[in-house]
């Protein structure tokens, strides 16, 4: 294995099979100490399965991995003591109060009895939960539940934190506050690995990975990932936008045409300039383009483009 001081998570050819389904296929990735590492992928891509294997609660079918220097298959118990994990559904005890929930997890993770109360108070203070310490977790709204869940997962100050879709179903303001907490933890030296469907969140990660059908498609900083797709993006204001979209989509070099209010957003690959293509195509088809401007490609553009081209590859493989 490479320099273990640099990488807190390392996997080599990790695979997991559930009967016929290959949920994770030959996954090799490394996560640096202290970074916020995002895992992106459509539903069912194998993100949760990967996290479960890294936490040591699911054995890989083949391949190997190490987390904080421990083998995920053989030293699961050592890993469990040193990580924090927040499941998709913020699994709190709804019939316990906020402070009881935190106290319980503090006890489970071996925070000594003498310092437990102080640690719970400290975490509540940091997460802004002090005023709600006596409230039953079941009566909290989604955003507050998520805060308690994050506080529970970090009560023992783990060096590595796994978050499985931590912001699903949470309002934008709460999400923003949540990300403040994530960056605070990261600044304190905690490594965070999280899965998400929100592209704005993906751009807040230090590094990203794309997983599709259990396979790793790309890893890098958000900028690197966008750059590697080599996309050209344009925003157009055009009459009969729906018909224009149909026309544009028919072209092979077009990755994506999406409606944004009155605007159409067009992404192309293979070095084709989106704005030039759109103007020449639409004008020759007698559309009136009132406005067209080139714009920066985003992680979302890259993600959609990657999933589209993978789909096409698979379909072609299926035909041949």
């Amino acid at each position: 294995m490479a320099d273990s001081a640099e990488f807190i998570i390392e996997t080599e050819h990790l695979s997991r099979r559930f009967g016929e389904l290959l949920a994770v296929n030959d996954l090799s990735l490394s996560v640096r100490r202290g970074e916020i590492f995002g895992v992106l992928g459509p539903n069912g891509a194998g993100k949760s399965t990967t996290i479960r294997m890294l936490c040591g609660i699911l054995d890989p079918t083949s391949g190997r991995g190490s987390v904080i220097g421990f083998d995920i298959a053989k030293q699961a118990e050592q890993i469990k003591q040193r990580i924090g994990y927040m499941t998709q559904r913020f699994s709190l005890y709804e019939d316990l109060t906020v402070s009881e929930n935190l106290g319980f997890y503090a006890g489970i993770y071996g925070v000594p009895w003498r310092t437990r109360r102080a640690r719970v108070a400290q975490v509540m203070e940091l997460s802004g939960l002090t005023a709600r310490s006596k409230q039953l977790a079941g009566t909290l709204s989604g955003g507050w539940k998520q805060r308690v869940a994050l506080a529970s997962a970090t009560i023992h100050q783990p060096p590595l934190l796994f978050l499985d879709e931590p912001t699903a179903g949470v309002d934008p303001v709460s999400r923003r506050e949540f990300w403040e907490q994530i960056h605070r933890l990261s600044a304190e030296g905690t490594t965070v690995l999280l899965t998400t469907h929100y592209m704005d969140e993906a751009e807040r990660c230090h590094r990203l990975s794309f997983i599709f059908h259990g396979e790793l498609l790309d890893v890098g900083t958000p900028d690197q990932i966008v750059e590697r797709r080599n996309l050209s993006v344009a925003e157009l204001e055009v009459d009969r936008a729906t018909e224009a979209a149909v026309l544009l989509r028919a072209r092979p070099e077009v990755d994506e045409v999406a409606h944004y209010g009155h605007l159409l957003r067009l992404a192309t690959h293979d070095g084709t300039d989106a704005k030039t293509l759109a103007e020449s195509l639409l004008l020759s088809a007698k559309f009136s383009v009132s406005q067209a401007r080139s714009t920066r490609a985003t992680v979302e553009d890259a993600f959609v483009s990657m999933v589209r081209s993978e789909h096409q590859n698979r379909e072609q493989e299926g035909r041949t």
Partner: protein, 375 residues
């Protein structure tokens, strides 16, 4: 005991304290069942409604009817005048027994000839038939002996009394009260019900709400999780047991004779066996509802086969063999031997061996299924 076990037990207690309904059920249910079973299960049939079809209409025939009524087993609710009336009375459940005294009963008796009487019994309820015919048969047998003895004495060459006498002497429950038999057994039935159900649901609830996954990724070991979760229920089991004994004492005057310390110590084996079983169920159930259904499904054979309701000796061989695998069967014997007969450890040691073996098997089964890995 380790800290994490206590942390989990403490959490269970906190949750239990908030769940007032379950808490109330755990106290009220045993008492309700006690009253229900204590009053309703009564296998000694008395005051059977009966009719008389007296064709003889003599002093002797009336005397026979009166002496039957005097046993307390028959209540004569009326006289009828033919067999059709008898049929109507039995069919409409107005009577279960009909005494038919044919004409010539008194005159046959007087002439020293065999006199006949008939007892028509509603056989749709076998328990009643047994009580009704046995009582009447022994009464008539007694009467006949008396008459025979009188005649022998009159003829001058008789015995001074009956040739053989049998003096029945019932120990441990001289009045043959059902409650004395049922109440100690009820301790076992209620513990089976609540212990299996509570544990299986407690784990299924964590699975249902997703908190189990959160615990599985934590450093908690299976043993700590299991022991911590069931510890509070062991305490509840003992509370229920004490409650039933006390209420049985007060309401039904059920005596508790034996070594209570021994009983409480052995009850631990039984409670632990039920908790292990509940745990096993929880590994099969995905939801609390499934766990509850499994617990109820398990309760039925326990009530039927353990010897709680029906005598174990009367069961067919396969049922007896099956019932040996139920913890309740052995605990019932232990609890009855100790509380009713003041038995000591030597008297129950076979049952203790059985119970320990079942417990070991259940723990093995539950821990094999209860793995901390998800896949």
């Amino acid at each position: 005991m380790n800290t994490r076990t206590w942390v989990i037990a403490h959490k269970e207690l906190l949750q239990l304290r908030r769940d007032r309904l379950t808490l109330a059920m755990m106290i009220v249910l045993p008492l309700l069942q006690l009253l229900l079973f204590g009053y309703a299960i009564n296998t000694d049939v008395r005051h059977i409604p009966s009719v008389v079809y007296d064709q003889d209409r003599s002093a002797q025939s009336r005397d026979l009817a009166r002496s039957l009524e005097a046993t307390g087993f028959y209540d004569f609710v009326g006289s009828v005048n033919d067999y059709d009336d008898i049929q109507r009375a039995l069919r409409g459940n107005r009577a279960r027994v009909a005494l038919v005294i044919p004409p010539g009963y008194a005159s046959n008796l007087a002439r020293g000839k065999p006199a006949q009487a008939q007892l028509v019994v509603d056989g749709s309820d076998p328990q009643t038939v047994a009580s009704a015919t046995n009582t009447a048969a022994s009464l008539v047998a007694l009467r006949s002996t008396e008459i025979l003895l009188q005649r022998l004495q009159l003829s001058g060459n008789g015995f001074p009394g009956q040739p053989i006498t049998l003096e029945p002497d019932t120990w441990y429950n001289p009045e043959l009260r059902t409650a004395v038999y049922v109440v100690p057994g009820l301790v076992g039935v209620i513990l089976t019900m609540t212990m299996v159900m509570l544990t299986s649901m407690a784990i299924a609830r964590e699975r249902e709400r997703g908190t189990l996954e959160q615990l599985i990724v934590s450093p908690v070991r299976s043993v700590e999780l299991v022991v911590g979760k069931i510890l509070p229920f062991v305490v509840i089991g003992y509370v229920q047991m004490t409650l039933i004994f006390l209420a049985g004492r007060i309401v039904f005057d059920v005596p508790i004779r034996g070594a209570l310390l021994l009983l409480y110590a052995l009850a631990f084996l039984f409670i632990a066996a039920n908790l292990a079983l509940g745990l096993f169920f929880s590994t099969l159930a995905k939801t609390q509802q499934q766990a509850m259904q499994m617990s109820f499904f398990f309760l039925l054979p326990n009530i039927l086969l353990s010897g709680f309701m029906f005598p174990w000796e009367a069961m067919p061989r396969p049922a007896q063999l099956l019932s040996q695998g139920l913890p309740l069967t052995h605990f019932l014997r232990i609890v009855r031997i100790i509380t009713l007969k003041d038995g000591n450890f030597a008297d129950v040691r076979v049952e203790v061996v059985w119970l320990s073996a079942i417990l070991a098997a259940l723990i093995l089964l539950a821990s094999l299924r209860f793995s901390k890995k998800l896949g």
